[in-house]
């Protein structure tokens, strides 16, 4: 296990390094260049030359890359000339709100989807099963932005349960104004539950037809004991992979929900940066997503091995 972890971590480092090379290279290939993006099309050649030199863009590419990488290793993401703030400031304030909303809805989705999937599987083809199936397909089929608009319409305009005037852009704001995030969380939860409950349902269905379940019944275990003592753990194993693969969304945010509810989350910030040729932020966000994706899949693999003794990580 230790050897496995060591090797995987080493692989992860290599993967992330390659991501830095590729994304750095791609940014350099973009037309216009950062100086033009910052100064606009009416800049004088002198200004351009000055800023180019100030940003170090006149140095050879590998030196620029090395400087950037060296900064990264020291926790310095660099300075963003477009918004005139350190990149880490911009990124992390946006990250807080996004991670909070995505994290809470992921947790809620699991808490709902696991029992729902179990009920559906154990009462297969019953009215309950059919009802949840219809819900899942409908919720899955409607685009997220539409679900968001519907929820906004019902809860804010029609029922007036919540009124959201204020924008949420930082983690503290999100914490202190729970009512401001409950609608985006609800939207995300509904769409996530729709998918997860299907996975859970088929996971449990896969397991309850296994022969070891028959063995459990043959030793006199009640239906309840069989379900919780034997089926549940085995059915949860595939869910772990799903959760691991959902982790990148924590830092990627949910652009659509952020857009609908006007949350200054990471999704919105990154998209805007890309549209405005804001190289610094785009690059940093890409890298962040890469790191979390790599870590997420590592976490999924390791928890897989922890849950299933047959999986030996070597």
């Amino acid at each position: 296990m230790t050897a496995y972890l060591f090797r995987r971590l080493l692989q992860s480092v290599v993967t992330v390094l390659m991501v830095t090379v590729v994304s750095f290279g791609l940014m350099k290939l973009m037309p216009g260049g950062p100086v033009r993006a910052i100064l606009g099309s009416h800049a004088t050649p002198a200004n351009i030359a000055h800023l180019t030199q100030q940003m170090g863009l006149d140095r050879p590419l590998y030196v620029q890359y090395w400087t950037w990488l060296d900064g990264l290793l020291h926790g310095n993401l660099g300075f963003d000339y477009v918004v005139q703030r350190p990149i880490s400031d911009v990124l992390f304030s946006a990250l807080g709100a996004s991670a909070y909303i995505v994290g809470v809805s992921l947790l809620l989705a699991l808490l709902i989807a696991v029992p729902v999937g179990m009920v559906q599987a154990t009462r297969r083809n019953s009215a309950v099963d059919h009802a949840f199936t219809v819900f899942s397909f409908v919720a899955y089929g409607i685009p997220t932005f539409f679900v968001g608009f519907l929820i906004q319409q019902w809860f804010e305009d029609d029922l007036q349960w919540v009124s959201v005037q204020n924008q949420v852009s930082t983690f503290t704001e999100a914490l202190t104004h729970p009512e401001a995030i409950c609608l985006p969380v609800l939207t995300l939860t509904i769409t996530t539950v729709a998918g997860y409950s299907r996975y859970m349902r088929s996971g449990v269905l896969d397991q309850i037809t296994q022969e070891y379940v028959r063995t459990a019944k043959a030793k006199g275990a009640s239906a309840r004991r069989t379900l919780y003592g034997h089926v549940l753990r085995n059915a949860l194993i595939p869910m772990v992979t799903l959760i691991g693969l959902s982790l990148p969304a924590l830092v990627g945010g949910s652009l659509i929900v952020e857009f609908v509810f006007n949350i200054q989350g990471i999704g919105l910030v990154t998209t805007r940066a890309a549209q405005q040729n804001d190289y610094g932020i785009t690059l940093a966000a890409t890298l962040l997503t890469a790191v979390v994706t790599v870590v997420g899949s590592l976490v999924a693999d390791v928890s897989y091995a922890v849950l299933d003794p047959r999986v030996r990580l070597t």
Binding site: R214, T215, K219, G220, H230
Partner: protein
């Protein structure tokens, strides 16, 4: 009063559009300390009977009539909770495949103690102690440590022991064993059956042994119920059934066993047709449509399960052995067994003198084992095939037998070119397959074809059988496309399949038909040699006999050679001219079939022969040998010297130090590799003719 009494049991399974009448009026009884064997082919309802008693029927399954009385208590009237307290407490059950029947994510100790906790209300600690006790009862070495491991960390035989420990943890009155050894190797099978026998005596339980294997049942059951199409067709004591079967179905089953015809080499009897569709059971006797004696009465009226006396009952109007049949069944002056054996040996010697088709010399196959923190380096090798030499002659059948993991399948794969040998040479008609140029190798490959155990898994399920058949011909661009179709039709004719079968998908065939398709595909390129890897081991005996007959017919018609790989010695013996016995990658004995079978030299061969259950209670009772003890050692670090020495009853120091060489025993190139053989070697003058090895 009997411990378990089943009276008029009727079970149905509701499907979407129909109802399967799985069991129709089953009567059974078992006493304490008695073993009842339930035997029959797949789909006859034997497992359904066991599941009805346990009330663990599949979805849609329901007992719709009859009584099941355990100790006088009607199980069918119990509530779900009450039935929970019967299962695992009064009735223990073990299943076929210990790999899938144990929870993979729970230690075996916990799985056993769960049963104790449910029924005895024991604390965690008490239950664990009881689990360790139960594990030692079933002969698990170091039970306290083994209780803490997960099922995948144990071998198949040990898993089945754990399963038995689980079933017996609460000392039930009745043990139901549903094909308990079908997934295990013969040597392990014997150990497990012996264990069940011993525990039965020790605990005074009743046992219901459900199996398709007449050999297993002959040696273990006190009485037998033969089932067919959801009914018991004959029931009596084991001895009476084997000595004097009265139902034509029982008789037919016995006659399709290859061991019954191994000496004479006669065609096997095969039951025509298929069992009836139980969604619409036929009127009258259910076997009538396939019975060679059936008359009109059989098709209209249903014969009751009755008989000469209480001890022997059968459901037939025209039972076997009744005067009606005496006249037609009498054979005309059969040649004596000895004469037949001599004749067969002579014939097979003729074949071994024919042209050598395939010759393998010093064949070696290692699979690397890797380890390492960052860079994977080779730390060892699994020695799958270690220095095997043998040859197959024109028109000959060579049988390769051994336990799983002995390397027989790998030898087959190497011959057909699915694996590359690590060392040694493969000569086909004198040409070295490894050295030959690409185009020639391609041509040679056509002459060697493979027939699989599971033809269904070996066919693309989305391809029509026509395309499956066409593929090899298209790949090798044989003749014109029209000619290819003509050839396919010809082959289908040859293997006895209707041409309409070409337009169907693989899943639409029964097991026996699929095996015919598998054989047809192997024949498409008109090969000279067919490597058949366990081609009949997934089939019921009556279907198995059809395939074996077909393979023999084709051999004499087309002059084919077979390399027949199987774990089943009786099938091997029936079909083969020569038999090679493999153990842990080594060929330990090879020689003429009759000679190896009746006069083995190697202790492993002797052990295998003793281990294999014979469908004859007298033979089984007379067996004194313990078979082969222990389990197959790892092929990563095989024992030094003779690889069998760790399990050999005769092993001495020399066996660990010097690897025995194949030496001649007798005039027919009967060779064996043993330092302490069961009989002396041939005189020194009798040199081994290398060409015949």
């Amino acid at each position: 009063m009997a411990l378990l009494e089943v009276i008029g049991l009727r079970t149905e399974i509701r499907l979407k559009r129909s109802v399967v009448h799985a069991l129709d009026g089953i009567d059974l009884s078992v006493d304490a300390g008695e073993t009842l064997g339930i035997v029959g082919e797949s789909g006859c309802g034997k497992t359904m009977t066991a599941m009805s008693i346990m009330q663990l029927l599949p979805n849609g399954g329901n007992v719709v009539g009859g009584e099941i009385r355990l100790d006088g208590r009607d199980l069918l009237s119990l509530s779900a909770q009450e039935m929970d307290s019967v299962r695992g407490n009064d009735i223990g059950m073990i299943f076929q495949d210990p790999t899938t029947s144990l929870n993979p994510t729970m230690t075996i100790g916990r799985q056993i103690s769960e049963s104790v906790r449910i029924h005895r209300g024991a604390s965690k600690k008490e239950a664990h102690e009881r689990a360790v006790e139960a594990l030692s009862l079933v002969g698990m070495p170091s039970p306290a440590q083994r209780a803490l491991v997960y099922p995948h960390e144990l071998s198949g035989g040990m898993r089945q022991r754990a399963m038995i420990a689980m079933a017996l943890a609460n000392e039930p009155k009745l043990l139901i064993a549903d094909e308990p050894t079908t997934a295990l190797d013969v040597t392990i099978q014997k150990q497990i059956l012996e264990l069940i026998d011993n525990l039965k005596q020790q605990l005074g339980m009743a046992v219901i042994l459900v199996t398709h294997d007449l050999g297993v049942i002959a040696g273990r059951a006190d009485k037998i119920a033969v089932m067919y199409a959801g009914k018991v067709v004959e029931t009596t004591s084991t001895r009476a059934l084997f000595a004097n079967p009265r139902h034509p179905y029982t008789e037919a089953l016995f006659q399709s066993l290859p061991e019954r015809s191994a000496e004479s080499g006669d065609r096997l009897y095969s039951i025509p047709g298929l069992p009836p569709d139980l969604t619409k059971p036929p009127t009258g006797c259910r076997f009538a449509a396939r019975c060679r004696y059936a008359v009109d009465d059989c098709r209209t009226n249903e014969p009751p399960l009755a008989g000469t006396d209480e001890q022997h009952r059968f459901a037939c109007f025209l039972p076997v052995g009744a005067p009606v049949y005496r006249t037609e069944a009498e054979p005309v002056a059969a040649p004596t067994a000895d004469a037949v054996v001599t004749e067969r040996i002579r014939e097979s010697r003729d074949r071994t003198q024919a042209e050598t088709l395939l010759r393998i010399e010093g064949l070696v196959k290692d699979y690397p084992v890797t380890a390492g923190l960052v860079l994977r380096r080779k730390v060892g090798a699994v020695s799958a095939v270690a220095d095997v030499s043998l040859s197959v002659h024109q028109g000959e059948t060579v049988g390769l037998v051994g336990e799983s993991g002995c390397g027989k399948t790998t030898v087959g794969k190497l011959i057909v070119g699915l694996e590359k040998p690590t060392g040694g040479s493969l000569l086909f008609q004198g040409r070295d397959l490894a050295q030959a140029p690409r185009t020639e190798r391609r041509r040679l490959r056509r002459d060697v074809q493979l027939m699989f155990q599971d033809s269904y898994a070996a066919m693309n399920p989305r391809m029509l059988v026509r395309s499956v058949m066409r593929e090899p011909l298209d790949i090798h661009r044989v003749d014109s496309p029209a000619e290819r179709d003509r050839r396919i039709r010809e082959i289908f004719d040859l293997v006895g399949l209707p041409l309409s079968a070409l337009e169907r998908y693989p899943h639409e065939f029964s097991g026996g038909q699929r095996q015919r398709v598998g054989l047809a595909r192997a024949l498409a390129l008109r090969p000279k040699l067919i490597v058949a890897d366990e081609p009949v081991s997934a089939l019921d005996v009556s279907i198995q006999s059809q395939v074996l007959n077909l393979m023999r017919d084709l051999q004499s018609e087309l002059g084919l050679s077979y390399l027949f790989i199987s774990h089943d010695l009786s099938v091997i013996r029936y079909l083969s001219d020569r038999i090679g016995v493999m153990y842990l990658g080594k060929l330990v004995e090879i020689g003429p079939a009759e000679s190896v079978y009746s006069n083995p030299v190697h202790h492993y061969t002797r052990g295998l022969l003793d281990t294999i259950p014979v469908a004859d209670p007298a033979v089984e009772a007379a067996k004194s040998s313990q078979g082969i003890a222990g389990e197959l050692p790892s092929a990563i670090d095989p024992p030094s010297g003779c690889r069998f020495r760790t399990r050999c009853p005769a092993a001495q120091e020399i066996c660990a130090q010097v690897e025995p060489k194949l030496t001649a025993y007798g005039p027919d190139n009967h060779l064996a590799a043993c330092h302490l053989p069961l009989r002396p070697a041939a005189a020194a003058s009798e040199e081994v003719q290398p060409a015949l090895v």
